[in-house]
């Protein structure tokens, strides 16, 4: 049971992010919500690759007979972090542009496109 704790934490993070997206109206906070979900998913990926008492997967430093953690999920997480950085930057830039045109960051007031 205690071994599943990291997964529970991931799900809580994802849930918090979704809650932020559903309940907040400030565009910056929405971007933060997206980032929270992303953190949850990334943590999930990293947790998948963990091996009990594993060491960092650096081939040249390890003594024989020591278990290493899986390197693939870490590479995947890194890729996902890079993508997340790009999306967050783009969303923040759009939020700034919206603020300059409308003078507000309230998602309820930014509804020119509807119907």
């Amino acid at each position: 049971m205690i071994g599943n704790l990291p997964f529970v934490v991931c799900m809580i993070l994802i849930g918090l992010g979704l809650w932020t997206l559903l309940s907040r109206r400030n565009l910056i906070k929405l971007a933060i919500g997206i980032t929270l979900i992303e953190c949850g998913v990334n943590l999930f990926l990293v947790t998948l690759g963990y091996v009990e008492r594993g060491v960092a997967p650096i081939y040249t430093y390890t003594q024989p007979g020591v278990t290493m953690v899986l390197p693939t999920p870490q590479a995947l997480t890194l890729t996902s972090i890079v993508i997340g950085m790009a999306t967050t930057a783009l969303m923040l830039a759009f939020a700034v542009v919206i603020y300059r045109h409308r003078g507000t960051l309230d998602a309820r007031k930014i509804r020119e496109l509807k119907g």
Partner: protein
């Protein structure tokens, strides 16, 4: 920003750059690589923007985006280097040339001159991330309009 911040920024600025370069350079030996090192080094831009205001660095925006394109082109071009076999084939590994030393078997401190095209790709990515992330931070600072705060 105050004199204290400016002075400290001047002192730690080269250290941050060197650390970023180290992380990029040892990407094929230790945890790290192009993106991580690039992000570390790009924090220099954030430091400069916060300390000295963004208006002052407006003119380097053009060269930053040029460097970013250069890094990306270099990365894809390195992928094309292996097209004699397949795309992304590590053709330089073990050939004895640049980064071409064979990797010794067993535990060792890690030799910098190994890895084939990987270190080159790390540098390409590092260049792209330094320039790209720097441009992003700089643009967000310029968007905000506020100069000194």
């Amino acid at each position: 920003m105050s004199v204290v911040v400016r002075t400290v920024a001047r002192i730690i600025l080269p250290l941050v750059l060197i650390f970023g370069a180290y992380v990029i350079m040892h990407g094929h030996l230790t945890p790290g690589g192009g993106f991580q090192g690039g992000a570390v080094a790009a924090s220099v831009v954030a430091l400069l923007v916060i300390t000295f205001g963004s208006q002052r660095w407006k003119r380097i925006k053009g060269s930053l985006s040029f460097l970013e394109d250069l890094g990306a082109v270099a990365f894809v071009a390195l992928g094309f280097l292996g097209i004699g076999y397949t795309f992304f084939r590590n053709v330089l590994a073990g050939t004895g040339g640049l980064f071409g030393a064979p990797v010794p078997f067993g535990p060792n401190p890690g030799w910098l001159n190994t890895g084939g095209t990987l270190p080159l790709m790390n540098w390409a990515v590092g260049l792209k991330v330094i320039a790209g992330l720097g441009a992003v931070v700089l643009m967000l600072g310029l968007f905000g309009g506020g100069d000194d705060w």
